[in-house]
């Protein structure tokens, strides 16, 4: 028989040891116990692997066509830092986001998300600029580059809109969009039942585990979507409302939300005029020739890569969640992307006459080979509205160097300037309204002295004005869609400065405008 162990007995003489022999029943039980232990350890490991695999699964929706990738692909801005806290970023998980316009329809203008300027394309489940990614056990959504850098153009109000990827999002009211997401996120109508009902009615399916997360962690008073929306409202609420000059369509205040969301600065303690930083979305084509130029309106960075990483933070990535390979795919594409060609008729002879005028009047600051292109002109010399310049402060710049810490991406280039940068004018026809704050609606108006430029106009219409070169800007609305009224008297909206090319003859102006359509 087998020895199963020893028994010890303490006696006056010392410790006695005896062998204990195992009976066949003991042996059977020991074998059983061993097998049961192995099996349960195996089951536990398998369960752990399953749970780990489920929550660690990370697959963004990808597209073969790089333009589709740009419009709908992920850069890593999808919500949530960890399994325990899956809410984060600007946008809640997919089905909650999809339900919001329905349950909070009164928080949006008539027309839903499209009315605040998101673009819906035929056959897509969601607007341009919204990416989708399965991670942390859920379908999540985030913002990507295209949300601010894609727009539409129509020849007349009867034409079909043409989508131009890479142009400024002329139609997007970012302030209204974020305000809506934060308001609906804390709206008591945004319940689990509402999300479930909306999903069913739209033939969607929320997985079993996902449903548990929605119910237990995300939806309901005090749960994460509510909590997160309340917290973000505390941080940036004051620049989404009436306390600042409205951003309006096609504009964003780049750096003030950044101060609050990246560094948790209390915006109410900053000088109020620092909070009026709204400026136009830029176009993002042709980046290669821009490397080394002063980028951003005030020229605060000379590295395209760092500028891209910074803009990605604005879209909601963190240094942890950012998806470098996918961002690189977009970067490689915009690196060489040519500006879209002017789609309407051009009088070639007239344009040819405009070229020497452009060379004489504009090229030194605005042509790719111009001596001063990409450099910063002092605010006193350029004379344009100073608010955007003042919204980016030295104190903020020195805080930025701690972004993407301990990595090859750590910020090194940001620098406070004292003016605005000379931009190359490639694709300038699509970049109206003009000047950094979008205070001049058309190229023709920009060639007028400041006092003669329009003092109020409307932004956000995508019908093109071929005569003045810019978008039609005297229509307050189209149907129920309302455009943004732009008042140059408001702080930050000044249309003064940049007094170049004034005093040209009528003929020269026509020729110059015609030529600029070809850039």
């Amino acid at each position: 028989m087998k020895i199963g162990g020893t028994a010890r007995t303490r006696t006056a003489a010392g410790v006695l040891e005896d062998n204990v022999y195992m009976s066949p029943v003991d042996e059977y039980q020991a074998r059983y116990r061993r097998r049961a232990t192995v099996l349960s350890v195996f089951c536990l490991l398998a369960l752990f692997a399953l749970v780990y695999g489920y929550f660690n699964f990370d697959r963004p929706e990808d597209f073969d066509d790089v333009v589709e990738q740009f419009k709908y692909g992920s850069i890593g801005s999808e919500t949530g830092g960890s399994v325990l806290y899956p809410a984060g970023g600007y946008v809640p998980p997919y089905w909650i986001f999809m339900t919001m316009p329905e349950v909070c329809s009164d928080l949006l203008p008539p027309g839903g998300l499209e009315a605040v300027g998101l673009i819906m394309e035929e056959g897509r489940d969601r607007p341009i600029g919204i990416s989708r990614r399965r991670r942390l056990g859920m379908d999540e959504v985030g913002l990507n580059c295209a949300v601010c850098h894609t727009g539409t153009v129509r020849e007349t109000d009867d034409s079909e809109p043409v989508v131009y990827a890479g142009m400024p999002a002329n139609q997007l009211d970012m302030q209204a969009l974020i305000a809506f997401l934060l308001a609906c996120g804390q709206d008591e109508r945004l319940t689990y039942d509402a999300v479930r009902r909306h999903t069913r009615e739209n033939d969607g399916r929320i997985g079993f585990v996902e449903r548990l997360i929605y119910r237990a962690q995300l939806l309901g008073p005090g749960k994460q979507v509510d909590q997160r929306s309340v917290a973000m409202t505390e941080q940036i609420g004051m620049i989404l409302g009436d306390e600042v000059t409205p951003w309006g369509r096609g504009r964003v205040d780049t750096f003030n939300p950044y101060k609050a969301l990246q560094f948790n600065w209390n915006l109410s303690k900053l000088p109020h005029d620092e909070l009026l930083g709204a400026s136009d979305f830029p176009s993002i084509w042709n980046q290669a020739p821009r490397e080394g130029m002063h980028l951003h309106w005030d020229g605060n960075n000379e590295s395209v890569d760092e500028r891209n990483l910074s803009a990605s933070l604005g879209a909601g990535v963190t240094p942890v969640s950012i998806d470098h390979p996918r961002l690189d795919r977009v970067k490689d594409w915009i690196w060489e992307l040519p500006p879209p060609e002017y789609p309407f008729a051009i009088d070639d002879a007239l344009a040819a006459r405009g070229e020497p005028i452009y060379e004489r009047q504009c090229a030194s600051c605005h042509a790719f080979d111009g001596a001063d292109v990409g450099t910063v002109v002092d605010i006193d010399d350029i004379g344009t509205d100073p608010f955007r310049l003042n919204s980016y402060t030295y104190l903020f710049s020195v805080n930025q160097y701690a972004l993407y810490p301990n990595s090859e991406y750590q910020f090194k280039h940001f620098k406070k300037t004292n003016g605005y940068a000379n931009q190359p004018l490639d694709g300038i026809w699509l970049r109206a309204p003009y000047l950094h704050n979008g205070s001049v609606p058309t190229l023709r108006a920009l060639l007028d002295p400041p006092a003669e430029r329009p003092t109020t106009f409307f932004r956000g219409y995508d019908v093109y004005d071929q005569a003045d070169v810019g978008f039609v800007h005297d229509e307050p609305s189209e149907g129920e869609l309302k455009f943004s009224e732009y008042d140059t008297a408001l702080p930050g909206n000044g249309n003064g400065g940049h007094e170049y090319g004034l005093g040209l003859s009528e003929d020269d102006i026509e020729a110059l405008l015609e030529y600029m359509k070809t850039l």
Partner: protein, 481 residues
């Protein structure tokens, strides 16, 4: 049977060893710093041995201002307390980071000994290593750390959530942070706060000032602050060579005349321990400071207010020779020596902060080390300092009670009673930093009130009876020092 037991022991031993090696690796393993660019870079970002005892874990340090912005003087993160940040640097000047198990950040010499200057408000600042940290409010930083540590949100959940926004800690690291590093950091900060409790009974230091030796008395020497006030200006530390060769004393009250002891004791004061002092590197810094020259006055051409009038300066030189040079020129006979308080008449608090007893205690503190201190003394006066780079050393007098050179040449009763410190825009006419600006872009500067104890602006009445022309000439000349 014995075999089986020892197998168990062996297994246990292996597990303990693995955990031990892991813990050593993540908590204690020291990794040498990689700092390129010479001694100046090392001075700004290199270690003086303060990380082991006084270091704060980098990730915690990084996220604290984002969790507790309300405890900083204003929006702006650490730079809001006046730390100076160079373009592209993740840490301010004067912060060293070093891996001792995990990355830790702590002070080095440069945090108190680098000046920030702008010639106009629109300009970006220029930093001068070796100068005085005129914008830096170390008391605000200490208070920030104390208030953060006292707050109940200084706990694993909040801190790890914030860290997760900037880096992806591994699971074992997260556990270490949760159970070891975060609680230990909090304890350490509370202990530090307790060591600085005395300062809340004293007038505020304000930017550019520090109480240099009460912290040493309390934290190292087991003495009491005892209600004494040592508030005084940070000192420039350039041109050590002529000072050492001239046999000068160091510190405003001259409590030590041995440069090696001054360097080592300063590192100890910043949080190094006798065992952690990096002797080679400190010696390298000391050698570099021997020949470091003060920055020249930004002499601009063409009628700018920064243009030095050479003729006027030449006249001023004669005035300086007659009025100031005995005490303040490198070849003056009293320079680098102690002038008794009764003779110079400036605020006595700084002298009363130190004592024979404290000097003896500091000498005894390092007994047994090859570099043990023996030169700490107590004096009843203040050092007559050389005036090299004096243009950038404002405010003046040991306690920084006089905002500019012109005010120094006024009789005490006509010197400003109140002015602001911490603004780094330079005033070339009065020679000193602009002192009548209360705030810039939401950042409030420090109001210096000369009626508070330790802040008196009396005494040092030399040159106050000169004629207006002589004063103009003298000030012009002093720009060139």
């Amino acid at each position: 049977m014995g075999n089986r037991l020892s197998k168990k022991w062996l297994a246990a031993l292996i597990v303990v060893a693995i955990i031990g090696v892991f813990a050593w690796n993540r908590l204690l393993r020291e990794v040498p710093q990689q700092i390129t660019g010479g001694t100046e870079e090392y001075f700004k970002y290199g270690s003086i041995g303060t990380e082991a005892e006084a270091g704060i874990p980098y990730w915690i340090w990084l996220v604290l201002p984002r969790i507790f912005p309300e405890y900083l003087p204003g929006p702006g993160g650490y730079p809001s307390v006046g730390f100076m940040v160079e373009r592209g640097e993740a840490l301010p000047i004067g912060f060293s980071r070093k891996v001792i198990g995990f990355e830790r950040v702590a002070f080095n010499c440069a945090v108190c000994h680098t000046s920030s200057v702008r010639l106009n408000p629109e300009e970006l600042p220029t930093f001068y290593p070796g100068g005085t940290a005129n914008t830096m409010d170390s008391q605000a930083y200490l208070r920030f750390l104390r208030q953060a540590a006292e707050d109940e949100r200084f706990r694993a959940k909040e801190i790890l959530d914030a860290i997760q926004q900037v880096t992806d800690l591994s699971l074992p690291d997260r556990l270490l942070y949760r159970f070891v590093i975060i609680p230990a950091t909090r304890r350490g900060l509370l202990e530090q706060a307790a060591n600085y409790a005395w300062m809340e009974d004293n007038p505020d230091w304000g930017p550019g000032r520090i109480d240099p030796f009460n912290p040493v008395k309390v934290a190292l020497l087991d003495l009491e602050a005892g209600g004494t006030i040592g508030n005084s200006d940070m000192q420039p530390i350039w041109n050590l060579g002529p000072r050492v060769r001239g046999g000068h004393v160091f510190h405003t009250d001259g409590l030590n005349d041995d440069i090696r002891e001054v360097v080592l004791s300063s590192a100890l004061g910043d949080g190094a321990t006798p065992k952690s002092l990096p002797m080679t590197e400190l010696e390298e810094i000391e050698l570099w400071l021997m020949d470091l020259e003060p920055p020249a006055f930004p002499n601009k051409e063409n009628g700018s207010e920064f243009e030095i009038d050479e003729d006027l300066a030449a006249q001023g030189r004669a005035v300086f020779e007659a009025e100031c040079s005995t005490c303040h020129a490198f070849d003056g006979e009293r320079v680098g020596t102690i002038i008794t308080q009764s003779e110079v008449g400036t605020d006595p608090h700084r002298i009363e902060m130190w004592s024979q007893e404290a000097a003896a205690a500091y000498n005894a503190y390092t007994e047994g080390y090859p570099w043990e201190f023996e030169s700490f003394v107590w004096n009843d006066g203040y050092q007559a300092v050389p005036l090299d780079g004096i243009w950038i050393r404002s405010p003046y007098l040991h306690n920084g009670s006089v905002p500019n050179l012109r005010a120094m040449l006024q009789p005490p009763a006509r010197r400003p009673d109140k002015f602001y410190r911490g603004y780094d825009v330079f005033d070339p006419n009065d020679v000193g930093f602009v002192s009548d600006v209360a705030e810039e872009r939401g950042r409030a500067f420090f109001e210096y009130d000369t009626s508070l104890p330790g802040n008196d602006n009396g005494g040092h009445e030399y040159g106050t009876d000169l004629g207006a022309d002589d004063k103009d000439a003298l000030v012009e000349y002093m720009k060139t020092l």
